[in-house]
Symmetry: C2
Subunit: 266 residues, 2 copies
């Protein structure tokens, strides 16, 4: 089966989802994007993703296509390729004539063992420019994740100049300790769509949410249950940090993950 994509509302062959290297916006990666989860032909939390797309675009002065009808464009792609479960990506390049693409790939999902045994992460010093924006300015994230992969880890945690862990390269980050869940303040990180559900789940489980980015040194010294969240990961426990085993209450992260996934069907 040949895959399709959407370009400004038109159904095209996926291999025509191309951009010119001579365009200033392409050269500057002046684009915003969202990664979506399609489950049973339905995009999970689409209004949240579209709100964030609009917010990212507004923050960098990028005009979205005026006639965008995301729901119907998505439906057309789901229909054309007979999608049931998939990971979908919206990206919009700015400029005088904005160029919006919707593409898809097989549903990003992870082995059960990642959830029962936890994953390994590394730390990487760096601060995202405009952290609340989901844009193509991704070199730091790319390099940090490459570094993690070279060390056999699943994700890299970004550490700011004050030694605080803000977020992962494609995830939000949390530490649970003594009945409290610590995570970076909203203004310092990408406002993850799944993060909203995680914080709701934490409250429901009786945890107090504290908006303080955990210090890498504290985490190394004092531990706590660490986990990541993202659209694809749900809530994923961390059991290794920079090669060192760290204790983790995976039953607790599993409870959070169950709630997060249950609400996706709402």
């Amino acid at each position: 089966m040949s895959k399709h994509a959407i370009r400004n509302g038109q159904l095209i062959a996926e291999d025509e989802a191309l951009v010119p290297v001579t365009s200033r916006e392409v050269q500057s990666a002046f684009y915003v994007y969202e990664a979506l989860r399609v489950i049973a032909r339905h995009v999970v939390h689409l209004p949240d993703h579209l709100r964030r797309l609009e917010s990212s675009a507004a923050q960098i002065g990028l005009k979205l296509p005026e006639a965008a009808n995301w729901q119907s464009w998505i439906d057309a792609l789901v229909e054309a390729d007979g999608l049931v479960d998939a990971t979908m990506r919206i990206c919009v390049y700015g400029g005088r004539e904005p160029l919006a693409f919707i593409t898809w790939q097989e549903l990003l999902s992870y082995p059960d063992s990642y959830y029962s045994d936890g994953v390994a992460v590394t730390s990487y010093t760096g601060e995202r420019f405009l952290p609340q924006c989901k844009t193509g300015n991704l070199l730091l994230s790319y390099l940090a994740l490459e570094d993690a992969h070279r060390q056999g880890a699943f994700e890299a945690l970004l550490v700011d100049r004050r030694g605080r862990i803000t977020e992962g390269t494609r995830s939000n980050f949390y530490v649970i300790k003594d009945g409290r869940l610590y995570t970076a303040p909203d203004e310092d990180v990408l406002s993850g769509v799944t993060r909203i559900s995680v914080l709701r789940a934490a409250s429901q489980l009786g945890l107090e949410v504290v908006y303080e980015a955990p210090l890498l040194d504290d985490v190394r010294r004092c531990g706590g249950t660490m986990f990541l969240s993202s659209t694809s990961m749900g809530a994923m426990p961390v059991t290794r940090l920079d090669g060192q085993l760290v204790p983790c209450d995976t039953a607790l992260t599993a409870s959070i993950c169950s709630l997060v996934r249950a609400w996706e069907a709402d």
Copy 2:
């Protein structure tokens, strides 16, 4: 006449110089680039540009195409499109199969009045990630330059968290005062190919080169002859900063520019 481009050594139509939005390297703007000046069918300072391209690539772990033969690829494009004077761009996307493009446009040049009367610049707070690398991580530069253009200015100067002017979005920056030329240290800025010539010219004209990034506040208060340099600009005087007129010895910047351009023929 239909324009051409080079993709990994192959001559293609320019409108085929495209990259897929589904590629992780394209999404992350994981690429390095150079802007070249072709004068009388000859690329100015090509070895310097290629050295910097290799340095940018090495710093981010991007593998250039092994079989790259830039000189012959450039010659093929010059020949195919009958180029005499032009601005040329090399860009190389990384990944398992690096994708190198050479494209061109009309020679970027500026009215004589820019050199005799000077140009307007604005200041913009922000620090480039990996400042010595010429990569696609350009959102800050894009936003700063858009901001300058909205204010009717020609270029934006980037100001770091300590209030120092490091460089322009596509230029290096200098202030001359009391026989000294001040400019940011090499490690904080892109090592401009034209910057090398500017520093050589300054020495030849009896100026002492001081590697200190000028403070924005000092420049506002105490003035000095400000100018920019880049491959396209040569040395260009600045006579307006954030809307305020600033005095400038344009005869001195013209002397520097003449030397810089004269050495291009070497």
